[in-house]
Each structure stands twice: as C-alpha cells, then as structure tokens.
C-alpha cells in the first residue's frame, strides 16, 4: 500500500522523539526509613518482615525478623511496642497491630520448629555474663557472626529478668524456653548457677578474647520505712522471682504495693492471682505521670487492682500501715501535706525500682561508673579494652527490647573489635513521615484486636492474658501495613505516567524510569501511596 506522503504516518513512530529533554526534575525510586523501624529499640526491620508476611510467606517473614531479633514470640508479648505508637497508619485509622503479628510469627516458628543457622566457628571466643535478653541477643548474634560463645548465668535457668521478673500470665514459660533453647541450639556453651566475681580474669582463664557484661539491674531499691515486723515487707523482685520456685509465697488477704512502675503492677496482679482479695497500689504521684504503661494499668484495673494516688507509706506497725497524703507542687513534684491515715494490710511489696550490682566490677581497670551505671562508648565498650557492657547495666531506657538491641549492637562491635576493624552501622534512610504518603489509596480497615481472656479466668490462673492472632487475622493485619517509604509494587507509577516512561520489571523487581521519555511531571511521585519516589533537580 503506497500511502500518501506526510498526511499518513506509521504507527508508534513517535519513539524517535525523546521527550526526556523537557525534564527539569527527575523522579527517582527511594527507600525511606519507616517510623516503626525507626522506633524499634531492637532495631527490627518491621516494614520488611510485614512485607513478607503480607504475601503469606511466614517462614520468610520470620527469617527477616530474626535477622535483628532472635526472640519474636517473647517480644511480641512483653515489648511495649513503641513501633505501634509511631505507626503512620495510626493517623489514618488505627496503628497496625505489629506486636500481634510479631508474636504470631514467633509462635508459628515454635509450632513449625524453625531453627537458626550459626556460621562456622572461626576461633574467636566471647564470654557473656548474664543470660537476660541482652546476653541472649549478644550470644545469638555472635554465633551468627561465627564466634564461639560461653554464657554464664548465676541463676539455675536462663532468661534473666524475662524469667524472674515477668509473670507467667504475660510470658508463658514454654514460649520463653522455646526461644532460649533455639539460641542455645546454635552451639552456645552454657554455665548455669555460675556467679562471676572477676570478669576479666574469668575471660582470660576461659580463653576468651572479649567479654560482654549483661547482668542487668538486680538490686531492689529500698526505702526506709520504720517497721515493727519486717517480715511483712518484701520487695517485688523477690516476690516475682519466688514465683519461679516450688513454694509460692504467702502474702495474705490484703496486700499493699508501693511504687508506680510496671513491676509494681506485676506485683499487684501477681498478688491477686496468689489469692489476695485486695491489692492496693500506693503511689506518691498521679496516674498521668506514672511510669507504668497504660495498657498494664488498664488490665490491672480490669482485674480489680486498686490505686491510692498521691500517697507515701510512713511506717508499719503489725498489720497497720500509716500513709501520708501528698500534693503536687507547681513543678509537679509531690510534697508532704502532714495529713496521715492508716490502712490495714497483711503485706507490703516494695516496687521502687532496681539498681545495678557493681560489686564484681570494682577490680576492672579503666571501667568507669557513673550514677550507678557502667559507662560505655558508642561501640558499647567500657573503659577496659575487650570488656563490653549493655542492657540495664548501662545508661538507657531499661526494657527487654532495649537490652536485645544492645546485645545485637555489642555483638557487632565485639566482632569488629576482634577482627580489628570497627563495625560501621549502615547509614539510616531519611524518615518516611506521614506527609510523604498518599493515603487516598489505602482503604480503611479496623485493627484486629487480640482476644482478651475474661477476668474471672485471668484472676484464678496464671494463664496468658492475651491470646494470639489466627493465620487469617495475622495476614489481614500484616496487610494493613502502609509500607511507608518502601515500594510495594502497586503499579501506580507505572499506570499514571502520561508518557509511558515507567518500565515494569516484574514481580519483586519493582520498576525503573525510562528517562528517554520521562518529562518530569512528577505524577508518579504524587500518586505513589507510600512515598517511595522522590523528585530531584536535573543537573545542568
């Protein structure tokens, strides 16, 4: 067919017209730091493992999770999940129930018997003192890095505060044991009932090249209370620790708990479960400024725990406790009012905080102590070469999650130190803040709440209070993730480009721009739901 000149054209011939020259700005794909990851003290890649979970590949999701944290089943239960408080979805409807999915993955791993793989040992040997979350985390990461690990624990069982301070109803022991065993199974040399008095010489004797101190804060803070009968007064740690023994302690029908932290609530709720008809938390300030987590307070209230705000305990005579009313001054500090009253109680549990036992560190040369904590540098190393420390021993927020993060960080630094090249943490991406999202594309869906045991059953037993998600609800919850700052292949950029300048690379391979034709209109960036495209100036 000899077609007319100029007025009739061949199809698609405009490919020779490279409109990319129109561009003053170019789109680029970026990965931003999701706020959940940013908030996680254990440094988990939450968005990452949710992404895997969204696909229903729980094995893969769990694998991604434990790269940072070896104890998801435990963390999913006891972590106070700051990730959820910072979740962008919270500004849309409600935060993604991250801890529930984490717990689901952890439990699934236990059900399926998924195991860790340790790298082949390369000869270096590290001594870890203390088998709490920090010590276990360090042991795990060091084994993954190929080091031999000897873990010393003063108590007869591993787990530290996770075992001796957190009640069963919050952390069932079979879960605790399962995740600890999985770490031990990596080939960690365990020495129980072993209290170390001189870590440095112990390290040398046992032929170790470095030591990680992770004994936590074990000493209960005491307050001076004139007491007639001291046996009615005990501290929360010993109460909670005693729960692990054969003989449950007897507290009586009416129990006072003195303090305002999570431990105070644990003690009060434990007392209720031990048969106390009344458990009264006495706190010198108000609920607003109480350090305990709100969810804990709520559950305690649900269980009938009572509170006496703005009160201090002055003295004890038999079963009679004198309490003084306080009032807050303008700075918000409690001041005595002189008003006194008495309460009858069978026992008083002190939950006024814990201190680090520094005794065994006194001989370590160069190791610095400040305000009752061990001083460490940015590599978690103390003033003494090869001696690292983390967890509650060092200045920081005292939580299992933080301790796990310390363990990981310490392990990586110990590895660097042993290999003679300091570990350099990867650069952090800019934050994927809410304003970078195009939330119109996300459909609304309510958070699936974990079913909660009814109180009656809760009070009588130490069964776990919260039960887990089932596979479908877990999948649903995972899929509520907005994938903040990280492409989840929704095809929007590919679809909305008026110039067909986005190339689809296929499942899992994301997209790339065809700068030959991209005019730089920025529609792709504007319509990317998760803010994974950035417009940058073209260079002259």
């Amino acid at each position: 067919m000899q077609k007319p000149f100029a007025t009739t054209l061949d199809p698609g011939s405009s490919l020779t017209n490279h409109t990319g020259t129109w561009r003053t700005e170019r789109p680029v794909y970026v990965d931003r730091l999701p706020p959940c990851n940013n908030a996680c003290a254990a440094g988990e890649n939450i968005q990452g493992w949710l992404y895997d979970a969204e696909g229903g590949d729980y094995r893969r999701a769990w694998g991604t999770l434990v790269v940072e944290n070896p104890m998801p089943a435990i963390m999913g239960r006891i972590c106070y999940h700051p990730c959820e408080s910072s979740c962008n979805r919270g500004q849309l409807d409600t935060a993604v129930n991250i801890h529930a999915v984490e717990r689901f993955l952890g439990d699934e791993a236990i059900r399926q018997g998924w195991a860790f793989e340790a790298a082949p040992s390369n000869g270096e040997h590290v001594l870890i003192i203390g088998s709490g979350p920090s010590g276990l985390s360090a042991a795990y990461h060091l084994r993954r890095l190929g080091h031999r690990v000897t873990l010393c624990e003063a108590q007869p069982a591993l787990g530290g505060m996770m075992r001796y301070a957190i009640p069963k109803y919050r952390l069932p022991r079979n879960i605790l044991d399962a995740e600890i065993d999985r770490i031990v199974a990596m080939g960690v040399h365990i020495r129980l009932n072993t209290r170390i008095d001189d870590p440095v010489s112990e390290m040398k004797q046992s032929g170790c090249d470095a030591v990680y101190l992770a004994v936590g804060a074990q000493l209960a803070q005491r307050a001076y209370i004139p007491a007639g009968d001291a046996k009615r007064i005990l501290d929360a740690l010993s109460l909670l620790r005693a729960m692990e023994g054969d003989e449950p302690p007897r507290l009586g029908r009416r129990v006072l708990v003195y303090g305002g932290g999570n431990t105070a609530l644990d003690a009060a709720r434990t007392a209720k479960r031990l048969g106390a008809t009344e458990a009264i938390v006495v706190y010198r300030r108000t609920r607003e400024v109480m350090p305990a987590h709100d969810s804990e307070v709520r559950e305690a209230e649900d269980e009938g725990v009572q509170f006496r705000w703005l009160s201090t305990i002055k003295k004890e005579e038999g079963t009679t406790f004198t309490v003084e009313k306080m009032k807050l001054d303008e700075k918000g500090f409690p001041q005595p009012t002189g008003e006194l009253e008495t309460i009858d109680a069978d026992a008083l549990v002190l939950a006024l905080g814990q201190n680090v036992d520094l005794e065994f560190l006194k001989d370590i040369e160069g190791l610095g102590i400040e305000k009752g904590s061990v001083v460490v540098d940015s590599q978690m190393m103390t003033g003494s070469p090869g001696v690292f420390a983390g967890g509650d021993m060092v200045p920081s927020e005292r939580s299992a999650t933080t301790s796990i993060g310390h363990g990981k960080k310490a392990a990586r630094n110990i590895d660097g130190w042993l290999r003679g090249k300091a570990w350099a943490p990867p650069a952090r991406h800019p934050l994927a803040s809410f304003d970078r999202l195009n939330t119109w594309y996300y459909s609304d869906a309510p958070k699936s709440v974990q079913p909660v045991l009814d109180e009656a059953r809760r009070l009588s037993t130490f069964d776990e209070v919260s039960s887990g998600l089932d596979p479908s609800t877990a999948l649903f919850e995972a899929r509520r993730c907005l994938s903040c700052g990280n492409c989840f292949e929704c095809d929007n950029c590919y679809g909305v480009c008026p110039d067909n300048a986005v190339i689809k690379l296929g499942a899992g391979s994301r997209f790339k721009f065809n700068y030959e034709y991209c005019k730089g209109c920025g529609l792709c960036a504007a319509e990317c739901p998760c803010g994974a495209i950035e417009m940058i100036q073209e260079q002259a």
Binding site: M1, P4, F5, A6, T7, T8, L9, D10, P11
Partner: protein
C-alpha cells in the same frame, strides 16, 4: 437499455450500477431526486451491500463519506449550492486526505438573495478545493460521467465532483441509455484503496503537517491532478470502447476546427449553443463551440490546441467573480496568453435566468464583428439597473434594491 427518464433518476441508476457501499444524503434542491432514487433502491433491495445514511447536514454527509472511504468503502454523496458551502471544510479535507469520494453537484446559485435555480457559483466556489470537477452536457453524459468518476477517483485516490445543471438536467426527462450491470462491472473494478483503516495494519491518517512538508504535500496534489489530464481522456476512450458512446474527456469541439469565432462553455448550455452555431453556420458565419467537461484539472494545453486557431473567443459562463468578472474566461485567457485572439466574457443564466438562442445569437454576431464588450451580462435588464444606479448616485440610502427594482418593473416607463 434506452429509457425516457428524469436526469436525477438516470444518475441514481448509474451510481447504483457502480456498487457504492456507503451513500449519505442530506436533502437540498435540486439534488433531492438523486438521493431519493438511491434511497429507494437500497430499501427495495435493488442496490445490495450498501448502507444509505440520512445525515443531519451536508457537513455530516461528506464527513460520513470521508470516514467510510477511509475505511475502504466506495462512498457517494450529492449536494448543491448552500449545501456545498456548508460542507466546504470537509470538501478540502477529503481531497487533502486523498479519499476517492464521488459527489454529484446539482449546480445551483448561492444566496443571498436565496435562489434555488441553476448557475455554477456553487461548484466554482470549490474550484480550488483539490477535487476533480467534471461538467455534464446532457443527462446521458451525467449518467456516464459517474461511472467514469469512480474509476478516475480510485485510480488517482482523489475525490471527484460530477457537476450537472440543476433543474435543466436534474429535472429534465430525456432519453438515456442506462448500461447493464455486467457492462459497468467490466469497466469499473472493485475499490482497492490506496490506504485503509484496518486494525490489522494500523496507520495514522490525517497527521498535522508543518511548514517543513506542507508545500510538498500540495505540490504532490498538483501533480496528481496533472496526471488526471492524461487519465481522463484515456478513461473516456476506454468508456467509448466499452459502451459505444462519447462521454467525458477533457473537452469536445463542435464545428470548431475551421472557426474564426469559438464559444466556450460548461454544461447543458452547450446544447443551446450548438443549435445557435448551426443557425449561424447556415448563415455563413464561421463559428464553432467547445464544451469544457473537465474544469479541474484545468486542461490548459488542450484548450490552447482547440482554441488557438480562432480569432474571437466567447466564454459563456454561469457564474461571476463579483468585482473581477468571468472566472472561466480569466483562466482561459491565462491558457491562451500570447496568442493573437480576443477573449470576451458572457456571464449568462445567473440564478436560473433562461439562456435563449435569440440572446446567444446576438452576442455571437457582435463578437464576429469585434463589437462584443469584454464583459457582457446576457439578458440584463439595463433599464432596471441603470435606474437603481442613478438612485444610488442621488442618495446614499436608496432602500433595498430588490424593492426598488420591483417598483421599476411595475412602473409604466418600463417596456
């Protein structure tokens, strides 16, 4: 088969014999009987494989034809006068896209003042639109030209207008030899488009062309029409061989070879002119005539050969370029430039004014003695116009001419 039928019917029959696939029609006097006839043939099943579409305007009529032709269907429509002007934009478009549409023009005057009668102002207004324009002298030729037009259009991939005088031909009952389907099929092959809208072989038809190529596009269009100058006589000969009669061609002379005075005209008026020529010949005047069939392409060379021998050329044309004069004669003057002869213009039959032998005879005789004005309006009522002109000289606002002229016609001083 010989039949005594109306011109419009004859055209409808021969268009139908060309097996058109899409016909679109919007009524306008004097074209109506043609499309009515075709519509009837489609409805009755006499014309098969054809879609007859009643559209909402002439603009749509030609636009539909543009679409169907581009999609590879043999397409036909017909119009006249205001209708042709209303579709003007599409007229240029069809030729620019090289679509071989055939359209009948029932030549009619253009208003204002509105007038339904015959002259050539309408097709003349589209003379530069890139279409071929063929003028029929008789109803027989009108019928025959359509058969040739489809072949011509499709071989060149250009649209063709077949012009026939409104009423004078369209409404006249005459003897017409209507060919058989076999004859027409043998002469006219099925439509093989130069380009076609086909999902299997996509094309973009109707691109925007800028300064860098527009000139070339037009030049090529011009070349195509020049090719038609050879193709038209060829097809006419072919037609004679197949149908046994002379129709079409670029032009036809009548007693022209030895004439001193030659009359040139287009369309049906040539009949009356030839009668007049015979009279004058009988009286010894060396006069002849040339009937111009192909106005576009304009056969300058052929005209030069046909007219060169004469000394007096009288162009009788049914249109006037107001403010300039005769259009056809201007082009003929151009074609004959340099030859020792005079070309005078006789504007005749505007708005259906009868062109009589008597009046023609008079101007031809004047021409013979070189007394013919360069521009003559045949049968003009001098009295009326001179009074109107006087009136306008007297006062600027002389009222609407039409009324004044009526008054003059009634007033006794007029003969």
């Amino acid at each position: 088969m010989l039949r005594q039928i109306e011109g419009s019917r004859a055209v409808a029959e021969s268009v139908a014999l060309c097996r058109p696939e899409v016909i679109c029609a919007y009524p306008i006097t004097p074209q109506t009987h043609i499309v009515e006839g075709l519509g009837e043939m489609v409805k009755s099943g006499q014309l098969k494989g054809c879609d007859f579409i009643n559209v909402e305007s002439e603009f749509a009529a030609l636009s539909v034809a543009i679409g169907s032709s581009a999609a590879g269907a043999r397409s036909y429509t017909a119009t006249a006068s205001q209708g042709l002007l209303y579709m003007a934009e599409a007229v240029y478009n069809a030729s620019g896209l090289g679509l071989p549409i055939v359209m009948t023009i029932g030549n009619r005057a253009i208003g204002a003042p509105i007038n339904i009668w015959n002259d050539h102002s309408d097709s003349m207004s589209m003379r530069d639109a890139g279409w071929l324009q063929l003028h029929a002298e008789t109803n027989q030729e009108a019928a025959d030209l359509h058969i040739q037009a489809f072949k011509l259009a499709e071989e060149l991939s250009l649209p063709v207008m077949v012009c026939m005088d409104g009423f004078i031909l369209t409404h006249a009952y005459e003897r017409v030899d209507v060919p058989t389907q076999q004859q027409v099929d043998a002469f006219l092959p099925p439509f093989a488009p130069r380009q076609v809208l086909d999902p299997a072989a996509p094309l973009s038809i109707g691109a925007m062309v800028g300064p860098e190529a527009f000139m070339e596009v037009r030049y090529l269009d011009h070349q195509k029409q020049s090719q038609a100058l050879e193709l038209i006589p060829e097809l006419s000969r072919e037609f004679r061989d197949a149908f046994g009669r002379d129709s079409g061609g670029l032009l036809r002379g009548y007693r022209a070879t030895d004439a001193d005075t030659l009359v040139v005209a287009m369309g049906s008026v040539n009949g009356t002119i030839q009668e007049t020529v015979d009279q004058l010949r009988a009286e010894g005047m060396k006069i002849g005539s040339v009937s111009l069939c192909s106005y576009r392409p304009f056969p300058a060379e052929a005209l030069r050969r046909a007219l060169g021998c004469a000394s007096e050329i009288v162009v009788v044309e049914k249109c006037v370029a107001v403010g300039m004069g005769g259009i056809l004669s201007m082009e003929i003057r151009n074609a004959l430039s340099g030859l020792p002869l005079t070309v005078s213009t006789v504007v005749a039959g505007l708005g259906g004014r009868a062109i009589t032998q008597k009046a023609l005879r008079a101007v031809f005789q004047r021409a013979q003695f070189g007394q013919l004005q360069p521009l003559t309006f045949l049968g003009l009522n001098e009295n009326v116009v001179s009074r109107e002109l006087e009136r306008q000289r007297d006062r600027r606002h002389s009222g609407p001419p039409a009324e004044n002229i009526l008054r003059d016609l009634r007033s006794p001083v007029c003969p």
